[in-house]
Every structure is written in structure tokens, then in C-alpha cells.
Symmetry: C2
Subunit: 398 residues, 2 copies
């Protein structure tokens, strides 16, 4: 590890960050990522199967582009989902095959839903080639349990699906009951044939965690059980745009290989990083409790990631008013919220929802000391909104 650090220092002093790197990223940093994965999961990882990318999104796009040949190729994507997946699948001309997360089961994943989604897609002539999981979930904030991950892997094995594990929020966990566990660790633990045959690509980033360096655009993906010929093709495509940006590669190295006991700033590093995560944990709790104290709002606890995704049960009158205004109901609600309070949220329809069910997504990132005031402001708005559109109320201020 000292050698890696030395390599980076040499790089910085001899010529700096000015040159292209290997199209897969600098070997020294890829080695650091492999060591990080091994420490995390307890199974060795091969730097040759780790590619550094300009953010995790670019990695996801590259892998989806490799998988999708045309519109008859389908990819299973959770709904609600982070819109990167719908956008990229559409850009590459493939078919999105949705599977619904169960809100009443704390956004858990029911393998029977998966089977149904695959059967429906096949009936339409779609070859389902891969499945995406986002763990912890965006926008839903759930952490997948080990038993759930086992079911998913068994399903991928049976159905011959590659598994794409979007694990960018692995450091952002706000409860102790269900710690993050990587798809790779579960897979390795299951032994052959699953550990030897399921094709898995896992994604990570410097944009989240307690560092949140999104502007750097740094990420990696790690491939397991991907045929060497495919790895070569992915390398070839990566080389078309020469190399990921070099400063973000250095960031990635620092992220996966942080300070250790005995390092000069170790105590401060632990204090600050723990401080950030503990504050996020308190904010997740404040926000969930705040939403759940509001009329017609129900919200699962944010187990991980950075989002709260409350369901807003809009009265029929509000839905009618939205229609009259030419707006999707949740967009109508979010715009009213913005106008009344200045709080900016994303309507749930941007992430996909079941018909007639409405949500909004907000981050848990506002400053902790401002959180009570924000939730009070939301509650006041929501009360007035619900009162205004209450079926029993005789008037409308619209």
C-alpha cells in the first residue's frame, strides 16, 4: 500500500496530472480498488477486471451499451428507479423491463414480481439480458438484505441474466440492522455454480459517501465472471475516448485507501467522516418522522443512500385541479410546494410509480440545524394543501 502511495506521489511530482492514463485507469489505483474490495468482502479481486470511469454513470452507460444490441434486448430495472437507467437504455435503443419495488414491504424486492416481469417481456419477444439493482436504493433508500440478494442471484443464475449492482451509496447507511453487503460478497459466499457463472458488474463512485466529490467525476466498475473477450471489447470501447480524467482517479485512490491508525491526521479524519455520517443518520430520522407526522403522507425510513421518497396521497379534488392546470398531479403538488415554501423537490413520476400513486423525492442533505424549520414549513404547506382539496371542504382557493 505504501508503494501505491509512493506511485501517486511520483506521478504528481513527475509530470503531474497532465498525461492520459491507461484507458482503464492507472494500474496503481486499480490495484488500490482491488485491495479495498478484498478488505470489504473477504474475497480477492483482480485489478485487471476493474476499470476507472468518469463517474459511475459513465460506467453504467458503457456496460449497458455493451449489453444492448437492439430493441429486442431487455434490461430489468427497478421502479421507482434512478432515471439514468431509463435514459441510457432508451439512448442505446434497448427495452426497459420494469419490476416494481414493494412500498409496503419497505421497498423490498419480491422475486415473484421479477418472474412475472421477465415472463411478460418474453411474451413480447424481448430477450431479457440483465438485471439492475440499486443498493442502497435511489430514490427509495432501502438496503437489500443478504437473503434478498441471494434470491436475486439465484434468479439471475436460473434466467441467465447479468447482474448490474449499482452500489454507489454503500457508505451511506443510517441504521444498524441491515448493513450494506455487496452483491459480489453474497455471490462468492454462495459458491459454485453461482459464484463461478453469474456475470456481475458492480459500480462505485467518489460522488457519494461522506466525501461527495461529484464535480470530480470519478468512479469504477468491477467485473466478475465476464468472458475475457467481452472484457477486451469493453477495454477497446473505453480507449475510443482515451482515458478517464486523471485527478478523479487520484480521488478514487484516496477514497478506497483512506487514512489508517497511526497516520498523522487519522483522528481528525475519523472524527469528520463519522461526524458527517452520524449527522446524515439524524437527518434521515428527522425527515422520515417529519413526513409521517403530516396528513396524507406516508414515508418509509431512509435506511441508506441520500433520499426520502414519501408517498403523497392526493385527494381526488387535487388530482382534478392538476388536470385543469395541465399538470401531472405530483408535479402540480411539487410546484405548489416550491411556490409556497421555496422547498424544491422532484416529483415521483420522474422515477416511475404504480398508477394513481404519487410521491416526491427529496434529499436528506439540508443542514441539520435547518431541518426542523424545513419540516415545519413542509407540514404547514401540506396541511393547507390537503385542507384546500379535502373532499369535505366547500371552497377552493385556486
Amino acid at each position: 500500500m505504501q508503494l501505491q502511495k509512493l506511485n501517486i506521489i511520483l506521478l504528481l511530482t513527475a509530470g503531474g496530472l497532465g498525461a492520459y492514463s491507461d484507458s482503464r485507469g492507472m494500474p496503481g489505483v486499480r490495484k488500490e480498488v482491488a485491495d479495498f474490495i478484498e478488505r470489504r468482502d473477504g474475497y480477492p479481486s483482480d485489478p485487471e477486471l476493474i476499470f476507472l470511469t468518469d463517474g459511475a454513470s459513465k460506467g453504467v452507460m458503457q456496460i449497458l451499451n455493451t449489453i444492448i444490441r437492439g430493441e429486442s434486448d431487455g434490461v430489468l430495472v427497478p421502479v421507482p428507479q434512478y432515471p439514468l437507467y431509463s435514459a441510457a437504455i432508451s439512448l442505446f435503443g434497448g427495452s426497459l423491463v420494469p419490476y416494481y419495488l414493494e412500498e409496503t414491504e419497505n421497498w423490498g424486492l419480491d422475486v415473484n414480481n421479477l418472474r412475472q416481469s421477465v415472463a411478460q417481456a418474453r411474451y413480447k419477444g424481448i430477450t431479457v439480458k440483465a438485471m439492475v439493482i440499486i443498493n442502497p436504493g435511489n430514490p427509495t433508500g432501502q438496503c437489500l438484505s443478504e437473503s434478498n440478494l441471494r434470491e436475486i442471484l439465484r434468479f439471475c443464475y436460473q434466467e441467465n441474466l447479468a447482474l448490474l449492482g449499482d452500489e454507489v451509496y454503500q457508505q451511506n447507511i443510517y441504521q444498524d440492522e441491515r448493513p450494506f453487503i455487496s452483491a459480489r460478497k453474497v455471490m462468492m459466499g454462495m459458491g459454485p455454480p453461482i459464484s463461478k457463472e453469474v456475470q456481475l458488474v458492480s459500480f462505485h463512485t467518489v460522488s457519494k459517501g461522506y466525501w461527495g466529490e461529484c464535480g470530480q467525476r470519478g468512479g469504477y466498475f468491477e467485473m466478475t465472471n465476464i468472458p475475457p473477450k467481452t472484457v477486451d471489447e469493453i477495454y477497446k470501447v473505453a480507449s475510443v475516448s482515451l482515458s478517464p480524467n486523471v485527478p478523479a482517479q487520484i480521488f478514487m485512490g484516496l477514497m478506497v485507501n483512506p487514512l489508517k491508525p497511526g497516520d498523522i491526521s487519522y483522528e481528525q479524519f475519523i472524527r469528520e467522516s463519522k461526524g458527517v455520517l452520524e449527522s446524515l443518520r439524524r437527518r434521515a430520522r428527522m425527515m422520515t418522522d417529519g413526513f409521517n407526522s403530516c396528513k396524507n403522507v406516508i414515508c418509509n425510513f431512509t435506511e441508506g443512500a441520500m433520499y426520502s421518497f414519501p408517498q403523497i396521497q392526493l385527494p381526488p379534488k387535487a388530482i382534478e385541479a392538476a388536470k385543469r392546470a395541465g399538470k401531472v398531479p405530483d408535479v402540480f403538488y411539487c410546484l405548489k410546494l416550491l411556490e409556497a415554501t421555496g422547498i424544491s423537490t422532484v416529483p415521483g413520476s420522474g422515477f416511475g410509480q404504480k398508477d394513481g400513486v404519487f410521491h416526491l423525492r427529496t434529499t436528506i442533505l439540508p443542514a441539520e440545524e435547518e431541518m426542523p424549520e424545513i419540516m415545519d414549513s413542509f407540514k404547514k404547506f401540506n396541511n393547507e394543501f390537503m385542507e384546500q382539496y379535502d373532499d369535505r371542504s366547500g371552497y377552493s382557493r385556486m
Copy 2:
């Protein structure tokens, strides 16, 4: 301009480079790019039509992806060409329509060749949608003249082609007779209908010039006469991967808005940047003269860019020896050169060539003081190689 600088300083002090920017890049830097283009060309430029990218390659890929719907869409690409174009067109499933640059005309572009290429493509059922020019040329090093650019623009207008102007080497010019002139400047000077109707996208980068900060991955493209709906679509696609990396955006701002007379380090900046470019000019001359002093080697002068692309006239015996070794003849030559001297070059076949004509590409970037020794070493190798495979020589050391 002071305001732009202030914006950047505020950005750096308030929160740093950690946040995503607008998916098109920071407004302040896009304004600086627009001002740079206006100063360069004498025509105003609109920051809303300038997108910052992770290097010029990513911008080229994004525009090609926008243009190509399927294999019946063709893009005119020069041969020899920088392989980004062939790779990206193939990745997006389109058709490359080659047009040959004329080596005996100093790699100039003959519009009659263009017409022939388009006619042949149409005969095959291909809709030719766009034309790529690389000016200054990579790997060929020529600078297009104003009259040649006018012909190209007239041709694009007549044939309804979008023009993609890869102008990443615009700062790298090594002669005074033919300074760099942008496609946009020529187009604007031609007046309507061409200036109002030809769709032009121009590319630039922080990876070349006298700075050469390739590892940062910074670039931009500027769109002219692109329909607003298309610009919106390009914006939407850019937003899928959130934003270009932020440090490289700052680099781009510094590149297009360099120090001015009166700034504290201005004299040193001029001395250093001029020093780099003058040294490159001397190296271009040494390399061209060196190649032309070699047996069976002819080489056009590197007017611009960073490359020398000599033609190697391989004797029939050498071609036969290559065949026996299972190698393409120029690859055979380049490998022998590498083994004998340690000089690493790229076989011309990687860039496309006419049948039976062989080249190699090398950069003019070796240190100036090492250049005489390198050229001597090349000459010695080449002499021995040519002697060994001379038709009149009775022996072979192979």
C-alpha cells in the same frame, strides 16, 4: 472578464470543485469560451450553444451519436484519419464514408474526391448526413487554406451536410504562410445562405496547444445553425451523465482566457508559451528534413498539429517478408524499427491509406535536444532495412 474570474474564484472558495455543474458546463466558463471565439473570429458567439465536455473526444462521440440513426446514415471522414471517427461511427452503428486526402498535394482536400465519395455512398443506399474535417490534420499535419474551407462549406451547403470541425490543434501551427482559420470564421464571412444554413459543430480541447493537459479531460463544442430542438436533445443526453468534470472546466476557462498585458506573470507566460511553440516548430522541421534525407522515405512538412506522417516506400522483398511473417507490411516495418532502435511509431494502416502505400505516424514531441540522435538512429535503421530488402541485394539477413 473580471467578473468571470471572480466567479471562478468564488466557486473555488465556496464549496470548491465538489459539486456537479450544469450538464452543459458552468455558465461562466461557457461565456469565456464564447468571448474567446468572438475575439478569434470576429463574429459573436452564444454561450448557450457551447457545451463543455470531458475532452473533445467525448464531444465528438456525443454529436456523432446524435447524427447517426442506423447503418444507412453515413459520415464523410478523411483518410488517413484519427481513428476516433472510425471507432465511434462503428460503435453507433453508422457507415463511414471515406474521402482521400492527396499526399502529393500536401494532404489537401479535393472537392471532386468528395463528390465521388458521396455519389458512391448514395449508390449503396447510404444517406450522407455529415462531413468531418480535421484541421490542422491528424495524422497528416496539414493546415486547410481559406479557399479550401470555402469549397468545403459550399459543398456541405449543396449536399445538405452538417460539418464537424475538429480544430483541436488550432494553436499548433509551425509555419506562417497558412495560419489556422476556423471553419466558423470562413462560414460567417461567406454570408447567407451558407452562414445562416450550414450546420456546423466545432471542437476544441485543453489536451493540445502549448499546455497539453490531456489528463484533465477538458473540451468544448460550439454549435452554429443547429435547430433549437436538436440543441435541447443534445442537452438532455448530456444530462444523463450529469456533468463534465469540473476541474477541467476551470482549465478550459484559463486556456481561452489567458493572461493579458499588465497581469503579473504575463511576461513569463508569453516567454514560456512562445518557447514551447517555437521549439515544436524547430522539431517539426528537423523531423521532416530527417525523414526526407532517408532512402525510400518521403514526408510532407508538418504545417500544424503534432505529427509527422512519412510515406515509407517498401521494396517488394520487404512486403514478401512481411507476408511470410504474417504481418501487415507497415506493421512489420514499425516492429523492426522498434526492435532495432527503441523508437515506437504507429503503422499508417491504423489511420487508413490507399492500397499498397505505407506510412508511419510519429509525434514531433521528443525533446528537441534528443531529436538529432533520434533521426540519426532512424536513418541508420532505415538504410539497413532498405539495403536488406533491396531487389538487387542477393542476401537476406531474415
